[in-house]
C-alpha cells in the first residue's frame, strides 16, 4: 500500500468515527456555529458581534492558510528514496516578513478594540441620564434595588426585586454592581454584557436594551456549590409598562 492509500484510509476511518458518534448523540449542526447567536438585544451588542466577526475572518484566514500549508509540506516533503533535505538555516527576509505582518495586524486589532472598549467601559462615557439600579450578588441570588419615587438610594421608599431585573427599553440603564459575600459575575448573554461583582467594590456597568421581552441573567464566576443555579431573568418593559411596574412596586412598598 502506498503512502496516499494509507493516509486516505486513516482519514476515512477518523471521519467514520466522528459521524457515528455524531449520529448516536445527535447534536444539531447549528451548535457548531462560529458566529454569535442571533439573539442580541442591546445597543452595543451588534458592535461586539461585528468585532467578533472581524477577528473570526482574520483568524479564520490565517487558520486555513497555515494548516493547509502544513499539510502540503508534510505530503510534499515526505521521505522518499534518495531524497536529501535542503541545507538551509533560514532566511532573514522571511523572518522580517512574518514578524512585521502579524505585528501590524494585531496592533490594528488592538486599536480597533480600544474604541469599542472605551464606549462600553470608560466610566466617563456612561450616558448622563441612565436609569440607576443597584444590584447585589449573594450566594445564590441577585437582588436589584430601585430608588423609589425620590430617586435617592438608601431612603425608606427603596424597594427590591429578587432574581428579576426590570428595566425599560430604549433607555440606558446603569447598574451599580456589588457583592455581599464572594465574587459573582453579572452576565446577560443577549446583551453581550458581563461584569464581575466584587465584595467591597461598587462597579458601574451600563447597557441599553433594544427590544422588550425576557432575557437570561446568569452568574458567570464560580461562587460556591449553588453557582450553577444562580440564574435570574431580565424583563425589558416598554416605557409605559415600566412606569406602571414602578408605580405598582412603590405602592406595595409603601403598603408594607
Amino acid at each position: 500500500m502506498n503512502f496516499f492509500w494509507r493516509t486516505g484510509m486513516v482519514l476515512v476511518g477518523m471521519l467514520t468515527v466522528v459521524i457515528v458518534l455524531w449520529v448516536i448523540t445527535g447534536p444539531s449542526w447549528l451548535d457548531l456555529s462560529w458566529v454569535m447567536p442571533d439573539n442580541v438585544a442591546s445597543t452595543f451588542g451588534p458592535t461586539l458581534d461585528n468585532l467578533w466577526l472581524v477577528i473570526l475572518w482574520i483568524t479564520g484566514i490565517v487558520f486555513f492558510i497555515t494548516e493547509i500549508t502544513l499539510v502540503v509540506f508534510l505530503l510534499k516533503y515526505r521521505n522518499r528514496e534518495g531524497r536529501k533535505a535542503e541545507y538551509s538555516h533560514g532566511n532573514n527576509k522571511a523572518e522580517v516578513v512574518w514578524t512585521v505582518i502579524p505585528f501590524v495586524v494585531v496592533m490594528a486589532l488592538a486599536f480597533y478594540s480600544k474604541g469599542i472598549w472605551d464606549d462600553i467601559r470608560d466610566p466617563d462615557r456612561i450616558p448622563a441620564g441612565a436609569y440607576p439600579i443597584h444590584v447585589m450578588g449573594a450566594q445564590f441570588e441577585w437582588s436589584a434595588t430601585y430608588s423609589g419615587a425620590d430617586g435617592q438610594f438608601g431612603t425608606t421608599d427603596d424597594f427590591e426585586s429578587l432574581n428579576v431585573l426590570h428595566i425599560p427599553v430604549d433607555q440606558p440603564v446603569v447598574v451599580q454592581l456589588e457583592a455581599e459575600d464572594v465574587i459573582h459575575s453579572f452576565f446577560i448573554p443577549e446583551f453581550r454584557i458581563k461584569q464581575d461583582a466584587v465584595p467591597g467594590m461598587s462597579t458601574p456597568v451600563w447597557f441599553e436594551a433594544t427590544a422588550t421581552g425576557e432575557y437570561t441573567l446568569a452568574c458567570a464566576e464560580l461562587c460556591g456549590l449553588g453557582h450553577y443555579r444562580m440564574g435570574g431573568t431580565v424583563v425589558v418593559h416598554s416605557e409605559a409598562d415600566f412606569q406602571n411596574w414602578l408605580a405598582e412596586q412603590q405602592a406595595q412598598a409603601e403598603a408594607d
Binding site: I55, R192, H227
Partner: protein
Amino acid sequence: MSTTAATETHTGHAEGHHDLGFIRTYIFSTDHKMIARQFLFVSLLFLLVGGILATMVRWQLGFPGQPMPLGGMLPDTMAPGGIILPEFYNSLVTMHATFMVFFALMPLQAGVFGNLLIPLQIGADDMAFPRLNMVSFWILPVAGIIMLASFFVEGGAAGAGWTSYAPLSSSGEWTGVYMGQILWLVSLTVLGFSSILGAVNYVTTVMNMRAPGMTWFRIPLATWSLFVTAWLLLLAIPILTGGLILLTFDQTLGTAFFRPEGSGEPLLWQHIFWFFGHPEVYILILPAMGFTSEVIANRSRKPIFGYHSMVIAMVAIGFLGWIVWGHHMFQSGMNPLLGMTFVVTTVVIAVPSAIKTFNWMGTLWRGNIHFDTPLLHAVAFVSLFIIGGLSGIFMASAPVDIYIHDTYFIVAHLHYVLVGGSLFGIFAGITYYYPKMFGRMMNEGLGKVHFFLSFLFYNMAFFPMHNLGVQGMMRRIYDPNQYEYLQGLQPMNTFISISVFLFAATQVIFAFNFLWSLRAGKEAGRNPWKSNTLLWATPSPPPHGNFPEMPIVYRGPYEYSHPDHDEDFWPQDDPPATSGSGGQPAASPNPELVPGD
C-alpha cells in the same frame, strides 16, 4: 563493550562513580537521569489522577444527574448513589486543573526533561547541585500526597477553582470546605520549593557547565527553552508562594488580606495569582516548544529554520509574559482604563508565537520528513498550537472578552494550548527521548495507533467547546440545564463527554506501550534518530557521569543534510578531521554513532 572500556580508561570523570547500592541508585539518587525517570513515573501517575478527575467532570456534564459507572464506590459526601453532588463537582473541577497544571504538566516538562536534557545536551556530567536536585524531586510526591489527602478530609477537597479566587477561597463559610482548602494551599506552597530548587539548578548548570565549544548559540533549542523556563520558575513561583501564604493566613489566622471585611482587597489575590499565572502559562508550554523544535529538525533532516529568531522569540515570550496578566482580569472590576494596556501587550505576545510557528513550518519546507511517532506528535503540536494561538486573539480583544470570558470558549482555548500544545509536545518528547532514557525503542505501530486515535478524540472533545462558548455556556457550572438557553446544547455536551472518555481510553495504549517497551522494546543503541546533539553521543541509557570523555563541541546542533558531509547528520562533537576531506575515507563516521541493532 566499548562503552564500559571507555569509562574505565577515562579517569577525569569516573572517579567517585563507584557502585552506589540500591537506595542511592533508585530512590535517593542524585543522578540527574535517574531523577528525570523518577519525575517521569510520578508525574505520569498524577497525569492519570488528573485524567480520572476529568472524566468524572465530563460524566456530570454529558449525563447530568445520572449515576456514574463505579460511582457507587464513592462516599455519600461526594456522590450518593453514584450521582455527583454540586460541591463535589466543584472539587473535581478544581482538583482536575490543579493536578494537571502543577503535578502533571509542570513536572513532565521542567522536571523530567529539564533533568534529562540539560546536562546531556550541554555536555555536563551532572547538574550543578545534585543534592538539591534530589530534594526537588522528593518534594513532588510529598506535595502530591498532601493534595490527594484533601479528598478524604471533612468537607472534601478544595472547590474554589484552581485559581482560588478570594474571598470564596479565603474562608470555609462560603464553600463548606475548611481543611481541604488549607491542604490545597499547603501542598502548593510545599511544591513551589521543588520548582525553585530545580530552577536554581537548571540556570546554574546551563550558565556554568557547558562543554568546551558549547557557545550560547550552539545550545540546542530544547535546552534553551528549559533555560528560559527555569528563569520564569525562579521569578514566578515565589510570587505564588507569597500569595498562598497570605491566603493561608486569611484562612487560618483571620487576617483580611483578600477579604473586604477588615479592608482587604479581593482583586489583590487576582493580581498576585495572575502575575504568577501568566508566566506559568509559558512555563507550561516553552519546554514542549523545545522538544518540538528538536523533533521537527531531526525528523525533517534539516537545520532548524531561523535558529536565532527561535531563541529570540523564546526570550521575548519570557519577558512579555510578565506584562500581560491583566488580560485575565478584563471583567474583574479592575480599572477599565487599564484594559487597553493589557490588550496591547497581549496581542504583541502573539508575534513571537507566530515567529515560532512559521519557523517550524520553514523547517519542514524542503525537508526530508520521516513520519515517526515523535514527528507526528510534534506536527500535531504545531497544528493545535495554531488553533490555541488564534483563539487567544479573540479574548485578547477586551470587548470580545466581555462575552466569552468565563465561557467554554476559554476552556477550549486553554485546552488547545495545554493539551493540544503541551501534552502532544510531551508525547513528542517522551517518544523521542525514550530510547535515551531506557535504552529501548517504543513500539512504532502502537505509537502510531495511539497518536491517530488521540489526535482524533482530542479534537472531537475540545473543538466543539469553542462553539459551546459562542452559545454562551459558562464554565464551571454543575448542570447547564438549569439555564433554558443552554438546554439545547445537551447532545453536544454528551458528544464531547464520550469523546473525552475515548481520548482517556486511548491513553491505555500509551501506558501499555511505555511499560511493555521497557522490557521488550528494540535495543536503541546510542543514536537511533541519527541526531546531532551531545545527548546522543552517550550510551543509552548514559552511565553515571554521562560522557566517558569531556566532549568538545565543533558546530551547532542542527547540521543536518550538510552539503560537505556525506551523512545527513553531523554530530556536534564530531571533530572536523573526520568530515571526509583529505586522506580519510569519506564515509567513515564514528561507528558508535550508528544505531545499534
